[in-house]
Symmetry: C2
Subunit: 446 residues, 2 copies
Amino acid sequence: MMYDLIIRNCHALIMPAGQRLEIQHNRDIVIDAGKIVDIQPTGGVDTGRAHEIIEANEMLAMPGLINTHAHVPMVIFRGLAEDVSIERWFNEYMWPLESNLVEEDVYWGMLLGLVEMIEGGVTTVADHYFFMDQAARAVEEAGTRAALGWAVFGDRGYDALTETAAFVERWQHQAGGRITTWMAPHAPYTCDDDFLKATVAHARRLGVGIHIHAAEEIGQTRASLDKRGLTPIQVLEATGILEAPTIIAHGCGILPNDIELLKNYSDHVGVAHAPKTYLKLGMGLTPIQALREAGIAVGLATDGAVSNNTLDIFESLRLMAMLQKHEARDPEVMTIPEALDIAFSGSARVLGMADQIGRLASGYLADIILVDLQGAHHQPLHSLTASLVYNARASEVQTVIVDGQIVMRDRHILTLDKAHIINEVNQSMARLARRVPDKRIQVYNP
Amino acid sequence: MMYDLIIRNCHALIMPAGQRLEIQHNRDIVIDAGKIVDIQPTGGVDTGRAHEIIEANEMLAMPGLINTHAHVPMVIFRGLAEDVSIERWFNEYMWPLESNLVEEDVYWGMLLGLVEMIEGGVTTVADHYFFMDQAARAVEEAGTRAALGWAVFGDRGYDALTETAAFVERWQHQAGGRITTWMAPHAPYTCDDDFLKATVAHARRLGVGIHIHAAEEIGQTRASLDKRGLTPIQVLEATGILEAPTIIAHGCGILPNDIELLKNYSDHVGVAHAPKTYLKLGMGLTPIQALREAGIAVGLATDGAVSNNTLDIFESLRLMAMLQKHEARDPEVMTIPEALDIAFSGSARVLGMADQIGRLASGYLADIILVDLQGAHHQPLHSLTASLVYNARASEVQTVIVDGQIVMRDRHILTLDKAHIINEVNQSMARLARRVPDKRIQVYNP
């Protein structure tokens, strides 16, 4: 029997559920029909039995990185809203800028963001934006994996909601199964209870989950308590959202009582953590430790590039780990194995894909990246895992495999024309950067 | 007349003191006798008048980065002390590990750290370590700039102190003026008052400054108050240290009263800020804003690679800026221009070199780096300065010039044999990683 692909002579990052992570040195990874079928000591598999061989030369092989919450096409506005309060960020910058959006922008922006993520080893992204047919088209071309939701505000009405449900139907399990779809109401402060309940009905009918912003920062939680006596998380429960698989974006304003409540939904509800955005917008931090102690999955995310500036999960991982130590004033919390557990199995759980991605093991999807840790800033390499969390850069990802297909090899993306994409986006810069007084897609007033 | 070097067609980061920073597009930078002599619109200078030309192709030219506090040779122990308390970090890891040090290790470790810093655009480092003749020899070979101090503990005695003063004399203004030297007593908690006073006498006699750890975190400040009723900063004043030019490393435990006190020395005392170390060791943060409001210089630093893991000033810059927003829960503080002011003129002031480095202007030393911001994660480049602070990676530095000499060109280091250095360090890994019970160079008990 022939295999599709063998990755020869890598060091493999192995993280069995509930056990110590380990680096297995000098391994061959056998891939067939889009899945990992075997991991053996180098030489243990006959390379003559593979259609294709990648020589890893002792690079680190690990599961493709997972970005559990982004607005990828927003890269087109990158750098346009710096050093402003969250209220101004929305009302004076982001929402006015987004009134410039045309469908084509989402296509090119999604492609550009996918280039950045492929180059940085991200193989799966949960994206939440507009004109999502264009995003899906881009993912199909890029060859990566995505969980896509068409964002909608309550004031757009029920027809708009129904259109986002139609998107869910059109693209669920498309692109050879690499695309899954989600309902994506914006947030409890922009969607009223009836709208959220209608979203739940669509999700139930279609058998999909719901990706939503909630309790993004403590001010939103306080405003919700003031206005209606419920926290945003309690609103998610009251409207039935939490009955569906749910990705809660940010949750920096989640209270201890919310965590008690979320415990009841911990088998299908997770929280996406995007620390760079929280620092830049002064939002505080998601209560990661308390969520995890309650059994609720936490994953890594980048949010959009207008707040996060990059779509770099290595950076999210490092910031997440360091900030937990900082907040606790205790360097012994959030150890390297725990940080990696969040990055891989945590993020996979948030997307409801814990049995498919985030792990190098037989039967898992062959989403694998090879990382070169030979740079001077890793030397001497006393600890490979410490270097992975605290020294590695996105630019050190050399090769990216998704669904058993090689998407980037030796830093060259095989599926997309990077120069053409950058050129297309650059053509639109002036138009995209315009802000017209009082023209915005929404008002921030949580 | 002929010039030594022209950098042709860069975008130049210009930061006139007390004025708005600006990007001057398409500029030629003229260099002669180690200094910047002119900056003109591209084409304004006859390139036939230069012995050498670097085509910048619209890369960003900026002053070489400055690392105001490091223990560069500690890279040889990188990754060996993770996820441990500060007390264990010193007593169970760092100080036992350093009992393995031989003079030769410092030479190779310094070279390795200089490779990392050159690749990351750092042209000047204030280093604080042992066997510093070896560090000086490495700097001489690397072609970079350094402010070197031989670290000493009080319990080593006055002869040891005198030896560190002899190092100061041997190397002051050597390597064509690229090396300056400093006295480097370890800290008030490891040097008693008489020892510190004797250090001041040496510094005064030799006309040099003092580089010292103080108030590294609030626990040290409290311990000092408990034991003797003075803060570490008050000890620096009482012993006369602050009369000399002083680099205070860390200062996360600096109190408001200390800042009032430091005001009186603000023309020659600065504080080195190494945020990655503080996060990883849960040390809190230097009160940057209050120090700067009091007119006291703050610069960026990396500390050693056993706590900081890398010697990456881009990373220090980004963390510094983001953490100030986070701590204040206010995204409008620590704007991009202010962050860059700290990175360049702030760091130069900390080293007492504000009229020599940290600025692209005629008469300044020609320490210049070229950074390529064309990667996908910078696109579209709506804001070059936002990208510099929030997106740029050390690996995007292409060319490094120090004292008018090209040290790295197109990512190839011209002065050092990188592969040989890494190989030499790797030979010693097992010996360096050994820890023998109760064998350590010092005990942490502030």
